[in-house]
């Protein structure tokens, strides 16, 4: 039986088909059921569609003002919750006047009971106009439906259209209320389509080059995008459009102009790549920059596409010289450690092989909050026999897995992290990272270091008071810094 019903799930047997234990001999189609509604009250880790749209996709833009059409909560919760920094640089060479604008401000309509009764469109309109006055710097205004405004049926597109003319800048409505779809994934989908429908093709870039790419589905979490950008720059490749980390409103409007689109997060952003390809004939490739091997492989692919093979090799060689020896150290330390990858989606398949091959770890379970079938195909392909693949895991399942399998480390979100700790298992945040970036060569080293620091945190050997400790055998931690070994400290006289 490839599917597994957890003890904890015996009262909700519908969970069985979401938990798949890999068997090599299974037909391809056997994999976790996914992208379906969560069982109420089951302690899912999932979020809502609004979070998927604003929290993931659009919130990363550096020059856009957001007006959430909601009772105050949705606005409050979307205030800078993601860790995507921005630089002030604009495509025309000027600087956006407010640093980290996207982390600093979020606007909302603060819907009251009367609006629920009489409709909130007036309030929305007034709020957008006021917000625009408050931040004239913003190059566009995006506004969001939420459960309340979705249910009362405010026609946000109409307001957006009217105000686009009135304010002389794009006002775009995103109709992804919280209840839409089974998870935040629906919000990604809606945001992709909205951006494509409303924006792509509406502007032209100041100039183009034969080496322009679009980087799609990279949100610059903890600076990930900047790592990739440095590789591309060294290779002679320009990112013409970012979707949407450290990006600008205008870049979205000319997403039809790159020579090639690179799809980094294939769950949240393949939609728009497809749409652009279909309408504008811009080809795309799905890329994977997690770990040194994938990163090298994908840089080579891109290099080949642009005839920049040598440049790609140079980037790879440079970086490997820097990170290789330290990674060796960590591999030695991480060898055989059991690890779970509980990601939102793609990281569960991005990281499975690298953690095994490059760091010698033993991935014994992967899970995802909102993956679709294509993602689980890859996950299944990339994990070993016997590994659990869990769709939309809930906290009792999480506890059961820990008790049964006793992993050494769990990569998960902040909601799981502290629960894992209470059960005695280290956990690091894989959605937004501990000390990122985690992408690329340096990023993979950061990930290795964070995993090492967590597994070898001396406290894990001291969790329980010992009445009779066993002699001198106590926790040891070694520095992962290679530098240090060569560099004996000087003596002060």
């Amino acid at each position: 039986m490839p599917y597994k019903l957890f003890d904890a799930d015996k009262e909700i047997p519908e969970r069985e088909k979401h938990v798949y234990k890999k068997h090599c001999s299974d037909p391809d189609g056997e994999m976790p059921h996914c992208n379906t509604k969560t069982v109420p009250g089951s302690m899912t880790e999932r979020g809502c569609a609004f979070a998927g749209a604003k929290g993931v996709i659009t919130g990363a833009l550096k020059d856009v003002l957001h007006v959430v059409h909601s009772p105050v909560g949705c606005t409050t919760y979307s205030a800078g919750t993601k860790r995507y920094p921005t630089s002030p640089d604009l495509p025309d060479g000027t600087k956006f006047p407010i640093e980290n604008f996207n982390l600093k401000y979020v606007c909302g309509t603060d819907i009251q009971e009367s609006d629920v009764v009489f409709g909130g469109m007036k309030r929305l309109k007034r709020s957008i106009i006021e917000a625009s006055k408050e931040f004239p710097e913003a190059n566009a205004i995006y506004t969001y439906a939420t459960c309340t405004t979705g249910l009362i049926g405010d026609d946000m597109d109409a307001v957006a259209k009217e105000l686009t003319e009135e304010l002389g800048k794009d006002v775009v409505a995103f109709n992804a209320p919280g209840f839409a779809g089974p998870s935040q994934s629906k919000g990604h989908h809606i945001a992709n389509h909205t951006i494509f429908d409303r924006l792509v093709g509406t502007k032209e870039p100041p100039n183009t080059t034969p080496y322009d790419v679009g980087l799609i589905g990279e949100y610059n979490i903890d600076g990930d995008l900047w790592v990739l950008e440095s590789y591309f720059k060294e290779m002679g490749i320009r990112i013409l459009s970012r979707f949407s980390g450290d990006s600008t409103h205008d870049e979205l409007c000319w997403m039809h102009r790159p020579k090639l689109n690179l799809v980094r997060c294939q769950r949240s952003a393949t939609y728009i790549a497809d749409l652009i390809k279909d309408k504008y004939d811009v080809p795309y490739i799905k890329v994977d920059f997690f770990s040194t091997e994938y990163c090298a492989e994908n840089l080579r692919t891109i290099g080949k596409y642009f005839g920049l093979e040598k440049e790609a090799e140079k980037v790879i060689a440079d970086r490997m010289a820097k990170v290789g020896p330290e990674l060796e150290f960590y591999k030695k330390k991480l060898q055989g450690k059991k690890v779970y990858i509980f990601s939102g989606g793609p990281k569960s398949w991005h990281l499975a092989i690298p953690l095994e091959n490059e760091l010698g770890m033993d991935v014994t379970a992967v899970a995802s909050q909102f993956e679709h079938e294509d993602g689980y195909v890859k996950m299944k392909k990339r994990v070993d026999e016997g590994v659990l693949i869990v769709d939309d895991p809930n906290s009792l399942e999480f506890e059961e897995m820990i008790e049964e399998d006793k992993p050494d480390l769990i990569l998960a979100g902040i909601k799981e992290k502290y629960l894992a700790h209470k059960l005695g298992v280290p956990s690091i945040m894989i959605h937004s990272y501990e000390n990122g970036p985690y992408i690329g060569f340096e990023g993979f080293l950061n990930l290795a270091k964070d995993m090492y620091a967590n597994i070898y945190n001396p406290v894990w050997n001291l969790v329980e008071f010992e009445e009779n400790p066993a002699g001198e055998e106590e926790s040891k931690i070694e520095s992962g810094s290679i530098e240090k070994e060569d560099n004996q400290v000087e003596v002060a006289k």
Partner: protein, 462 residues
Amino acid sequence: MSGINVIKRERNVIINPLKTCQPLGAMFAVMGVHHGFPLVHGSQGCSTFVRYNFARHFREPAEIAVSSLHEDAAVFGGRKNISSGIKNLAVRFKPDLIGAITTCSSEIIGDDVFGFVDTTKKELKTMSEDNKGLDKIEVIPIATPSFVGNHFTGYDVGVKALVDNLAEPGEPTEKVNIIPGIVNPGDIREIKHILELMGIEGTMLTDTSDPFDSPLRPSVTPTRPYFPKGGTTVDEIRDSANSQGTIAMCKYAGSAATSLEKQHNVPAIIETPPIGLQNTDQFLRNLKKLTDCNIPDSILDERGMLVDLIADNASRYLFDKKVAIFGDPDITTGLARFVGEIGMEPTMVCTGANSNSFPEDMEKISKETGTDIDVLFEQDMRSFEVYIKENPVDLMIGTSDGRLLSLDQGIPLIRAGFPVYDRIGYHRHPIVGYNGAMRLMELITNAVLERYYDPTHWKLQQ
């Protein structure tokens, strides 16, 4: 004469809110029940965002269930969601209590949550024939539409719902009920410490201290399901009807106290939290009033330690410094008074809620401290920021949401209130009681020393 200048938000748009919606408060209240489980009847974001916020502030697990409302519920109603949510929670987690908390969506689609809960409870009773104990699980419906009130009123509604549903008359006890407000584990522990010194048994309505700050001890931690230590037991809440009195140490979330008074003749005192010297004095007097206990020397010694700390340092380092305070209405009221007690000037106090007597209280503090106070009322962090840029202060006190402004303007931020996520340990320490005031005094003074005295470091030689 000193006075206040009330500055309300004039724009409609809210920018960086200083409040959130009701359900969070209700969830917080339910988290303080021993083996209590909040079940939010709404979209998944309604639980996930709140769990995220609790997790980053307390650095603890925050188990909150959700009924996962979707499009179909908008059409057919959410009965199935809430009902199966309750049942699933009940059979899989066997909690002592489930708080069924409404949201904007469940209210708009018109779900009769009270009715649904009743029906579900009956079903649980039937199910308990095969599955023992399910009928013992309390299920409390809590109506907290997000488009009414704010997190503070949600907390108020939550505590009141618990008490109204559970409190039952019995033998009178010597206990005192305390409604802590949305405060930290450290605050509740300080209140318990005071009660212990006073020899009073207290019932926290509710007690979030251990649930939000529990030891890491796998060997004794219950799993499958994991429940944190502590919380007020359902029986204790039942017994709250028989206490000598109730003190709501939150002026704006005391309706459970009123309810206990009306329904069970438990005298109610609803007041600003005991932040600072005079407010803590008042808290002690209130305890004495309700219980006729003595104020023991041990607590007066703690008071004396605070007095000593202020006498030795306040006029030397803090006098005349201007302070801007932002956050929840209760905490900011207490902080403003304390800041005056140590000779600083609370020149601006900003809150996001519309708690009605807030301006009056500021008026009193203005008179008492001799400071003109600009009261930013029903405001947001954007207004706070604009004000500060035009009217610089020496110090800000408030949540971590002021951190970027603090960095930009070079004005130290003393972290207090909820949420504090960019420093560690704040939830462990009180700001209430004499010990809380000592902590505040230390935080404030050390921030002033670092920012304003380190540059003339010789002044710190002695």
